[in-house]
Amino acid sequence: MALAGLFLLTFLPLHLIINFMLLKSEPGPFNTAAHFMATFPVIRIMEIILFGAILIHVSWGILLQIQNWLARPVGYVRSNKSETSFFSRFMIWTGAIVLTFLILHWFNFYFIKIGLVAGNPEDFYSVVHNLFKIPAYDYIYLACFTLLGFHLFHAFYSAFQTLGLNHRLWNPVVKPIALFYAIIIPAGFAFISITLWLFR
């Protein structure tokens, strides 16, 4: 689950870089990048690995969560006051919301690309611009990316622990890097959506 999660962490910056092309006034660069992502054979192989990683990460996460619920059939009356990593308590819920958004995202883009949903797969630039003109979509988008940030913060340093990479030399830097990553990635996506929504 940690390995699959780390792979997904590497994909997000790539997606963000491509999304920054949406800020250009002409659709060419973004549509070319989208076309390249849709047709280049190496990317197609990576796409299969990416879907595999999502499937493993989600199904493993659900399975572990069910086991965790079963491990405490009777809960405490006084809620737990232990000092814990705050976002770690809600991983299944932040993950579920991010997954719901991901499915919505596939309907808007990926399913058009593979022909399951009507739309022009050669002009995703216009699809994105039209979507961000809908305020409700922007609110959902921003809320989901905020929750993604919460999810990523715990996920980033938690993956190191699960892979056994907890070490006194790099422990002090893992959490700050996790925090930086969890802020900068969602902030980047949010910046693009707000710019397209309010200023284009």
């Binding site: 491990a71 405490y76 006051k81 232990s82 000092e83 990593s85 622990q161 699960t162």
Partner: protein
Amino acid sequence: MKLTLKIWRQKNAKAKGNFETYKMDNVSPRMAFLEMLDALNKMLVEEDKDPVAFDHDCREGICGSCGMYINGHPHGPVPAITTCSLSMRYFKDGDTIWVEPWRAKPFPVIKDLIVDRSAFDKIQIAGGFISVNTGAAPEANSILVQKKKSDDAFDSAICIGCGACVAACKNASAMLFVSAKISQFALLPQGRIEAKDRVRAMVEKMDEVGFGNCSNTGACEAECPKEIKLVNIARLFREYYKAF
């Protein structure tokens, strides 16, 4: 001090439990928490009522028997101590104290605040030992051990198996306990010989008896009365990956 106690009462493993409220007057701040429960039990016995059953043995923080969940914390609100070392001076006059048993499927309630922690014994029996011939103690310096590793092994070995890590974890995971037991051997040359079999067997048993999974919340480390660290869990993972 005047205190209100809300204590979980459950006749036996199959009975449905509930919280009973007890009013305590004249609780001295110099009392230990268990002494306060002794005073309560004396009062209950004098009233011809069933005393509160709770586990205890050494009463000096080394046996790990006295686990109970006090006001949302295993072993109470004070870090790095067991319930028996918890002084009543940490509570205020007029406080209401909620006392619950450990809650986890592998730790079923036997009576009131006593739970069956034999799930830990099963994990230990699966591999928490080194196989040596009995006889005279070997010469101490025949196998040299790096001081740092020796210290780390000792820090892991001080786990008293009280179950506070399981009680604190939102997933009822026993990872901190198992990782401490794995680490105390993994760090020493004597423990390396059976390291692969040990970690496989103990993790398999941990899953089999029904503990949850670690999601790295850190509650176990925060509540452990012996301050066992999360680095042990990372070591457990490394040992587990190496075992295949």
